[in-house]
Symmetry: C2
Subunit: 343 residues, 2 copies
Amino acid sequence: MASPVESRRPELRKDSVTNRWVIFSPARAKRPSDFQSKSPAPSSSDPPQTCPFCIGQEHHCAPEIFRFPPQNSDWKVRVIQNLYPALSRDKDLDSSASLCSDSLVWGCLLDGYGFHDVIIESPVHSVHLSDLIPEDVAQVLLAYKKRILQLAGDDSIKYVQVFKNHGASAGASMTHSHSQMVGLPVIPPSVSTRLDSMKQYFNQTGKCSICDVPIKDLLVDESVHFISVVPYAASFPFELWIVPRDHVSHFHELDQEKAVDLGGLLKVTLMKMSLQLNKPPFNFMIHTSPLQASESDSAYSHWFLQIVPQLSGVGGFELGTGCYINPVFPEDAAKIMREVNIS
Amino acid sequence: MASPVESRRPELRKDSVTNRWVIFSPARAKRPSDFQSKSPAPSSSDPPQTCPFCIGQEHHCAPEIFRFPPQNSDWKVRVIQNLYPALSRDKDLDSSASLCSDSLVWGCLLDGYGFHDVIIESPVHSVHLSDLIPEDVAQVLLAYKKRILQLAGDDSIKYVQVFKNHGASAGASMTHSHSQMVGLPVIPPSVSTRLDSMKQYFNQTGKCSICDVPIKDLLVDESVHFISVVPYAASFPFELWIVPRDHVSHFHELDQEKAVDLGGLLKVTLMKMSLQLNKPPFNFMIHTSPLQASESDSAYSHWFLQIVPQLSGVGGFELGTGCYINPVFPEDAAKIMREVNIS
Ligand SMILES: Nc1ncnc2c1ncn2[C@@H]1O[C@H](COP(=O)(O)OP(=O)(O)O[C@H]2O[C@H](CO)[C@@H](O)[C@H](O)[C@H]2O)[C@@H](O)[C@H]1O
Ligand SMILES: Nc1ncnc2c1ncn2[C@@H]1O[C@H](COP(=O)(O)OP(=O)(O)O[C@H]2O[C@H](CO)[C@@H](O)[C@H](O)[C@H]2O)[C@@H](O)[C@H]1O
């Protein structure tokens, strides 16, 4: 009879930011699969017939919001409307608006007002974010900032989620390097949970949980203004957080100098991931504070950027419990990432 | 310039069970993809060389826990240990056990004690759960029940998650029809959130949120003891819940007669899904109450089974916010599912 594989004992961990149990189980990494392996992602140096995100194809896109440099046909970054938006940027004045606990007790209903934009990170189809020089990555980050500041002018928008999907298994439907931004009329559940958890830590310790992020055995890289670490209770193998050293609540407080510094660290991190994990599909998400956060919230809220390589999908266990199973201990992932040599 | 596609206006909805905002946005369904389409899942009538889950291959499996019928080489269902378990079924007596807020303020650490089993649903490789007669589906359900009752004897186990992964994009690594069960030493986050939400509804209305589940326009099928509905704020297109008509907290209260009735409805539901959605990969999860739930909790807790066809993956937005984007309105999904003719 087959007997279980010998490995380090599993552990459950939870951190004071996401407040979610994660199961660490190295034995899981060894399980076989009798499905045929998925075909590798098509190389994006092989552009489709007409990619609307390529320079010269601007007329195939939904309306532009702005570009860098402005009014220049030789643009580096474009922020455009998403042609298939999750939310509608027109206010519905007739809408019965929010129907919560009063009239419709079983559920809540809200009109789908909000913004859904695409940030085209490069004019050239085959260029990835990690191919750009730090100054050009900074342009992308500053485009996020500029657009967030515009959305902050609309009182109905409570939270802006910036995210990037790279590769089909990370959800991307377009191969040309891009990211997205959704301005939401509600504070999403994971954001509320995170803020509650950070607040609780602050009340217990008097400190910000992100300023206090454990780095022993978990630090990967450092720049002047940022560090990269594997989180203590990483939900995914090789998940990484890029954390500003200074206590800052909102991503959109980023200035030019810090943007270049972050651009450099982000570039290095993505290059290391690509080299070590064989060009994995990945997502990144900017975790910031709600737009209308109060002065007192700023004591415990501290933005960071989360990068998740998509190495294995999830299944019914994660869908049912909200608990993740991670076969790689964070200390081991950090050690491996520290040792990658990209020079 | 390309202009946005005309569709029904997006809506945000939240229900009183999962308490999670979902964005309904039909426009999203129309977006293009320039990735090559994924190859279809390999047909499982084409078994791999040696599948350890097939009859006659029992010696390639981790130890058996029990089988139906007992002591019979001609078994119908086997419950076995998972050979690559997420948790360890041996208690670690030396373990420093739970390290929460006291010594390790930033995070919590718990020894990975628990159970991870596999339920082999048929002796034959090519037979899917929906191919079985209702009485044989019932055997699988009663195997879950029997194993849950065994785990309930261990005070350290707080919650049992039963789930099924079917097809590679639903996370399955094995093609032979099976499901899994994890006995956890903690109550997982989605379960706590669900119970809190159901309790709140009960406190506000004096009623159980699942007894009250909206069926207008959302009902799909009915049997003697169960109904199937599309939930009001479904996170995924064509997500379905099978709900017991009687107010029952724990799945493991299921008796033989109800198991056959549920077996029939589950079979019909999976067949309809397969026909209408072209044999999609899917997950199902049994949402039950914690093992040591108190008498007072039973007033608002009511188990149900959630089925999720995996039609599109998720991306950075969902990872970042915990909010889902569903391109299909629940009323539309229910109408389509009602109209599928499987006879
Ligand atoms: N001509 C054009 N002009 C303007 N915009 C155009 C366009 N053609 C396409 N688009 C938009 O470009 C975006 C490209 O986005 P991604 O490739 O990152 O993933 P997508 O949003 O499709 O879905 C992934 O991310 C979302 C959010 O995480 C998940 O819901 C989903 O399951 C996952 O596949 C799409 O949203 C699309 O609507
Ligand atoms: N000879 C043998 N004897 C006993 N057991 C054997 C065995 N050979 C294989 N197994 C076990 O059989 C199980 C088959 O399970 P599934 O195909 O449903 O998905 P898996 O658990 O691999 O991962 C999916 O589900 C989990 C939980 O949702 C996700 O974490 C993950 O990402 C997703 O791919 C595996 O857990 C494997 O360990």
